[in-house]
């Protein structure tokens, strides 16, 4: 038997929390015997003192046990999911889920919504007329059976403690803690019932993790947590210094995803997507080449099945923005840098993202990168096309883009692979 103040003081002073104390904490928090102001103080103490692997395992287990765990055994095939820590132009999930499903796995992708400058997968798909992302557990499984993949909102029954903690962390400056990030991501993914999981841990200016070291630590932490909970987990560290692909927004990213599924994706996007697909198939024990599933049309067919199963019309035209504005190159030269964070913030300000979780997002707003780093540009040539339904937003978006591009006199080296490293258990 313990109490909240004793636990907070123990962690504050660098001591380890006993398993029983962690389980008591989550029970008492659910019962409102531990107050939000106590939990936030503990979260800040964890920010400074961390959680060791044993504490983190128990902490994550307590979050999973706060709700239900989906049972996907009736699907009768290997299940594998992917989670990205979030990047600018990161529409990989939209391509990857049907692609891996077309190769024979079931992909149960339960996602959250975007906050800040990184977009949310559900926001993107909801640009499609009719698409429903709120599904019951039964619907989720039925769509997985019918389409091989599903991309839906994690329901209130999955890791509800994480939902509450995440909202608290968001307003108390306690988001940026590796054990808290790892337990938040992994509790939802483990509760979702997948057999295997591949993590796309983004590194760079447009990523949550700005440094390689932090990203590596997060990846290793999550891979270990997955294994401890019997979810075969691997991670790829991938570069996020410039937007992935050319489209940043909601509807515009759906369009680029469809193009990719039809074999017309930009190189950088396909490099990351194929690497993740190969890793997912390897964990699922399936010896398939994902490129073939694109070339054959099987991946796009799976996408159409999924969208239709979730109420959407994959052939319907997507909302188009009423206003556009271009940002042009200020001189002749080579585009050597196009900052992911600044483009992400600008797209957000155009209406593609939300500031508060209750805000709506615009399906049509976003940015098209007409040139990417490595491209030759001429003075006055449009580099970015800004799109919005609300022309009053252009000023704030343009302000965010101040200094976002660098044009040099020399052709930059062709970038190394965007996939920096594989982290496997």
């Amino acid at each position: 038997m313990t109490d909240a103040v004793t636990l907070i003081q123990a962690k504050r002073d660098g001591r380890r929390l006993a398993d029983d104390d962690i389980r008591w904490l989550f029970g008492a928090y659910a019962d409102n015997q531990v107050a939000d102001e106590q939990m936030s103080a503990l979260l800040m103490a964890i920010y400074f003192q961390g959680l060791d692997s044993r504490e983190l395992r128990t902490w994550t287990a307590a979050m999973i046990d706060s709700g239900d765990r989906l049972d996907l055994s009736e699907l009768g095939k290997p299940t594998v999911d992917k989670h990205s820590t979030g990047g600018v132009g990161d529409k990989v999930s939209l391509i990857l889920a049907p692609l891996v499903a077309a190769c024979g796995a079931a992909v149960p992708q339960l996602s959250g919504r975007g906050l800040g400058h990184t977009g949310g997968t559900l926001d993107k798909l909801e640009a499609i007329p009719g698409f429903r992302s709120s599904l019951t557990p039964r619907e989720t499984i039925d769509i997985l059976k019918a389409a091989g993949c599903v991309i839906a909102a994690a329901g209130p029954g999955l890791a509800p403690a994480d939902r509450r903690l995440y909202a608290l962390r968001d307003v108390t400056g306690t988001v940026e803690s590796i054990p808290l990030i790892a337990s938040s991501i992994m509790s939802k993914k483990i509760a979702e019932g997948t057999d295997a999981l591949v993590l796309d841990v983004k590194v760079g200016t447009g990523a949550f993790m700005k440094s390689y070291d932090r990203a590596k630590e997060l990846a290793e932490t999550m891979v270990a947590l997955g294994a401890e909970h019997n979810v075969t987990t691997a991670a790829l560290l991938t570069s996020m210094d410039t937007p992935l692909g050319r489209a940043v927004g909601n509807g515009v990213e759906v369009e680029e995803s469809v193009a990719a599924l039809q074999g017309n994706g930009p190189d950088d996007l396909m490099q990351v997507t194929i690497a993740l697909a190969e890793q997912m198939l390897a964990l699922a024990g399936l010896e398939k080449d994902p490129r073939e599933a694109i070339a054959s049309g099987a991946a796009y067919a799976a996408y159409q099945r999924m969208i239709r199963a979730q109420g959407g019309d994959p052939d319907a035209p997507l909302p188009q923005a009423r206003h556009t504005k271009e940002l042009s190159a200020s001189q002749d030269g080579w585009l050597t840098r196009l900052d992911a964070l600044q483009v992400g913030v600008a797209a957000w300000r155009l209406g593609a993202g939300r500031e508060r979780k209750e805000d709506p997002v615009s399906a049509a707003a976003g940015i098209i990168c007409l040139a990417k780093p490595g491209d030759r540009v001429a003075k006055g040539q449009p580099v970015l096309e800004l799109r919005t339904d609300d022309a009053a937003r252009f000023d704030a978006a343009m302000a965010a883009l101040d200094g976002a591009m660098t044009i040099g006199e020399h052709q930059p080296q062709a970038p190394a692979s965007l996939v920096i490293e594989h982290v496997v258990g």
Copy 2:
């Protein structure tokens, strides 16, 4: 213009908060635009990252400005107060206020209540039948005029932000932070309107500050804060390894205080009391010898005036406990150690202290130290007398006293002065 999350992150990351941001914070907290869970996260960040002297000055000023500041100028004499960080058997305020008043200063002592093992001055005085500690500002000043001293509860108008922050710190493991302690103490004392202030910073097992270094840092921080707010401030570091005097409790400490005012106080208690009185008189610019005010009866007369002015009867018998129990020496020898913390906890468990601020305390419960370190004891000789109205409490009190005394074969060295150091601005 800022927001709570930005401030929390800044402090978390070791940056300094701007003066405007600190003032914004207290305003927004008062308006409930900043929530308790945000403030507690910030307090924990301050626990780890501290506040520098500029931040602390502004933080303290914002707490003072959250309420009223008493104006004592109409008294027409120097005002000087004393604050103790709290110790076991620390009844010094009861003696010191009338003693310094008898020497010609006005002593406006506004106090809090005890929590945990250190007793509260108000709890002690309220053992006196009729005594009222809740006074209006007008009553406070009138009693100061009539009696020269007053010991009362700090009203709700003085530093209300401190009241709210203290309650929050108490439940969120953020009490033990030197800038937060210093600002809490000093905001109340500065708001009280005193010209000068002497701090008794206790060091030792029975004190809040266990180490000399921490106590010194706290003392220096408070002395500087006082000067910055035009309150001439000095501090004494005094030893708190064993109870001060022989009585620990409420009514029993009143009895010992009266004895001290009548010239019959134990040496250790008088040593600390006289040192503090001399420092207070020095700051007040009064060249008086406090010993003479005791010898002449003037100090005791001031005490009687104060008690009567606050509704109490200084001649009324104090409540006596219904049950007593003795703890005896286990062998012949010299008492070399009597642990202040353990005696304090035992007195608390007998009913002298409270666990939660809404709990009542017992006027009669407490402990009498029949021997003190340095005394010769014989096997079976009573060393402690435990007093309570609830005999069921003896077991818990005796458990707290396990190992509290050490009896050695050799006479211990006479202790050095209990006054370890003077800290002046």
